[in-house]
Symmetry: C2
Subunit: 123 residues, 2 copies
DNA sequence: AAAAAACCTCTACACTTGTAGAATAAAATT
DNA sequence: AATTTTATTCTACAAGTGTAGAGGTTTTTT
């Protein structure tokens, strides 16, 4: 099961806030804010899909994500990789470095990261 | 305008084949193949969306993509980056290296690529 | 030429998504 | 306590998607 674009947006807020009441979520939305009922519908759907749950405090619900952002995201990226690069992450990586416009600084940072990854894995 | 998941699949075949008659596209699909009419519908929608066009050879159409895979893909990835990493490609990159499981060899390859990118940009 | 296969458009239909009003209940404010 | 605000569920509806049949035309095969 997958979240739709807008549901993903709500998810982002939940990941950011960790726990949130309806009100908090609405606060996060930029103008023009959607109707409360819209967000309520989304949350309900997300609960149905198993991505969100809530705790009851008295009678108000404090919503929280059931999946970690990184987990959700890896699945996402892996789907992308599978879809576009015949499942080759390295092919994707090479595409990525050449096609997104990272600055030299960012590239150097990235190289540093890769180096530490390599060291990590060689252990 | 965006392609749906299945349309993307057809697009993949078109990118691979470069040009293709209906028959060629159907051949690409793994079992169980969709009905011809299904693919026809998809192609029509893709034409409407402006992603595909065709040449007439006698009375049969040879379909071809109007957008390059890399172009389509960068848009895609950039959307992803915007969505998940507040528009920071480097943040995405760092996530990417740590969360996808690239082997040491692949990482080293990637580092090589980055190095040449850096050189490229410093010119 | 007759039959079979291929292909295109139209139509259809169920499911998902974006969006929100109506109705209701509960909570907060005056 | 009365009013206003907030939250929740139901209902709704248009647009998009996955899937394919019916009908018509063309091309290929027998």
């Amino acid at each position: 099961m997958k979240l739709s674009k807008t549901e993903e947006q709500v998810m982002q807020y939940l990941w950011k806030l960790e726990k949130a009441f309806m009100k908090d979520i609405l606060t996060e939305f930029p103008q023009p804010k959607p109707a409360t009922t819209t967000v309520a519908t989304l949350l309900k759907r997300m609960i149905d899909k198993g991505f969100v749950n809530y705790n009851l405090y008295g009678k108000s619900r404090e919503y929280y994500p059931l999946i970690k952002k990184t987990d959700y995201f890896s699945k996402h990226v892996n789907g992308l990789i599978k879809n576009f690069f015949n499942n080759s992450a390295s092919q994707f990586a090479s595409f990525f470095t050449s096609e997104t416009n990272l600055s030299v600084t960012e590239l150097e940072e990235l190289r540093k990261l890769i180096d530490s990854q390599i060291k990590e894995q060689k252990k």
